[in-house]
Symmetry: C2
Subunit: 338 residues, 2 copies
């Protein structure tokens, strides 16, 4: 696959760039433990460090692939690739504290190892480094490009915090309207994928309509990615891994299929309102959800959003191997089973 | 006083600018509660809103006064003034969670009202808005100025998180060397005051040596300000307010006078190592600290740093009423009793 050819050279370059941002900014002897926290979270240090602990690096790959598809040298976009990955990881560090999650990518979360106070602060530093890493564009790009890139990243982090605010607020509600789902995942997921694709175009210096099309591609892809995640959270785990206790039904997440069924006010909704769902109920309730139409609705939504993403990608009017890789990545993300 | 004349017109302009940044970025109906959190923390809304709840706005005043002293129209520096105040308040929101502080400026802290999860997120948003508010410079300033301003703010927030890391790490130690104090307060306090003064000069477009002198002024002022705060935390409260339970001796803060005495290994140090200090001991221990030379050392340090700040200010080679106001502000900050 063309995607794998690109990923094979891009992924090591992304790790190098990330490592450079962190080690050049946190090099003091007395801050060694602080650097260690960031390196642990990024999957480079500590128990079970390695590719599994690093995550898929989807966002920086999108930056680089969109830059390559725009006909530019993708290596020039590495500072922007590092920026979006650091932004994503900052939000994960804080999310894990907010959700009291004990594990991330199969390892203890940062706050369980270093405490809440130091983990909040490490997240703040990761956030700053995300913004700051764009300054490495200074070597090759003009000031207007740098300012535009910073502006995109700022707008994205405003969207991220709004999406997170809604997510936390929804947790307190028994049920919410189906349409309330979209502004939440637009902020939490789609904003950063949209920014990643747009940044690839911005750094490549393409025309405004093309940048807009890349942005729309990332946005629809982000929505589709999240809805697919919601599908996996209910029907993926049970069938492929059998881990009922990790089902979104047990954690009480207001995912798209759940909201669909809650707004149908049928048997699933009646059960949900009664209180927490136990792991033993998960298989039956996943079937009930499907019976009430939530699985079909969810799959159709993924399909529609994927079509919209691919249509936007074609509107960029780009050609070549970068485009092939982006189409392949889209299809991989949306047919994944974990 | 000249300072009061400036503050009388600058303070309302700062509030307007801050309000504009927040309301223009968080205007959606579904994020009303999020905007309310920020407005509460900034002292505009909720119980006991008002000037007392807003804080002194020292940092934005420094930006505007340094800009005025540089011979520029201070109103053009308002976006930078808002940026440093938002940065300061972001760090306070997260500090209060990290220190589990229940009160701030006489009111319940953000996290006690909205919970830790929402407070972390509101702090993240305040952080982003700090960076983003610099874009309002775009109307009147060229791109190089904006990039330089953003870069200063990023470097400052890296310093802030390093200082905070050290502060949190020191809490776990019984004692630390006296010299470890300086990198902590350099990051936690001096970095943002240095940035405030430098930003005033950057926006005014003055020469590099003058900007450097403004920065050094802010840095020394920040160190002096913090050491004075440490003095107040032990000898100020007890004599002027009698609130022994709020003494830094009770909270166990590793302030400069405490570190001085710990490194003398005399009677105070022996008592400190035995465990938490009770409010009833505070008056006697404050006397013991003074007897062991810690108060003289602390006062002399404030005096030395103040002299260094004023010398740096003169190196800016600026004249006029802005300079008079800065000298007055310096003297007010360092002779304050609360």
């Amino acid at each position: 696959m063309v995607f794998e050819k690109f990923a094979g050279v891009m992924l090591p370059a992304i790790e190098d760039q990330l490592r450079g941002v962190i080690l050049s900014s946190v090099s003091e002897e007395n801050c060694r433990e602080l650097a260690k926290m960031l390196c642990y979270h990024l999957g480079w240090e500590g128990d079970r460090a390695g590719p599994e602990a690093q995550g898929k690096r989807i966002r920086p790959l999108l930056v680089l692939l969109c830059s390559a598809a725009s006909g530019s040298d993708w290596q020039q976009a590495l500072p922007a690739a590092a920026a979006v990955e650091l932004m994503h990881n900052f939000s994960l560090i804080h999310d894990d504290i907010q959700d009291q999650s004990l594990e991330r990518r199969g390892r203890p979360t940062l706050w369980t190892k270093w405490g809440i106070a130091q983990a909040i602060n490490a997240g703040d530093l990761m956030f700053t480094l995300a913004n700051n890493s764009l300054f490495a564009l200074k070597g090759g790009k003009n000031e207007a490009v740098i300012i535009r890139a910073i502006e995109i990243l700022h707008q994205t982090s405003i969207s991220l915090t709004k999406g997170q605010f809604l997510d936390l607020a929804y947790e307190k509600e028994k049920t919410i309207p189906l349409e309330s789902y979209w502004p939440m995942i637009a902020g939490k997921t789609a904003a950063l994928l949209a920014a990643s694709c747009e940044l690839g175009g911005v750094v490549a210096g393409i025309e405004p309509e093309k940048k807009k099309a890349f942005r729309e591609f990332g946005y629809s892809l982000g929505l589709a990615f999240q809805v697919q995640d919601d599908w996996l959270g209910i029907w993926g785990d049970v069938s492929s891994t059998g881990k009922s206790n990790e089902s979104d039904l047990v954690t009480g997440k207001k995912s798209l299929p759940v909201l669909y069924a809650l707004n149908m006010h049928k048997a699933f909704s009646e059960r949900w309102i009664k209180g927490n769902i136990e792991p033993i109920e998960v298989v039956d309730l996943a079937r009930l959800l499907a019976f009430e139409g939530a699985e079909t609705y969810t799959r159709e939504t993924v399909d529609r959003l994927t079509r919209e993403a691919l249509q936007a990608l074609e509107r960029t009017d780009c050609n070549g191997e970068g485009m092939v890789a982006l189409r392949e990545l889209t299809s991989m993300l949306l047919t994944r089973v974990k």
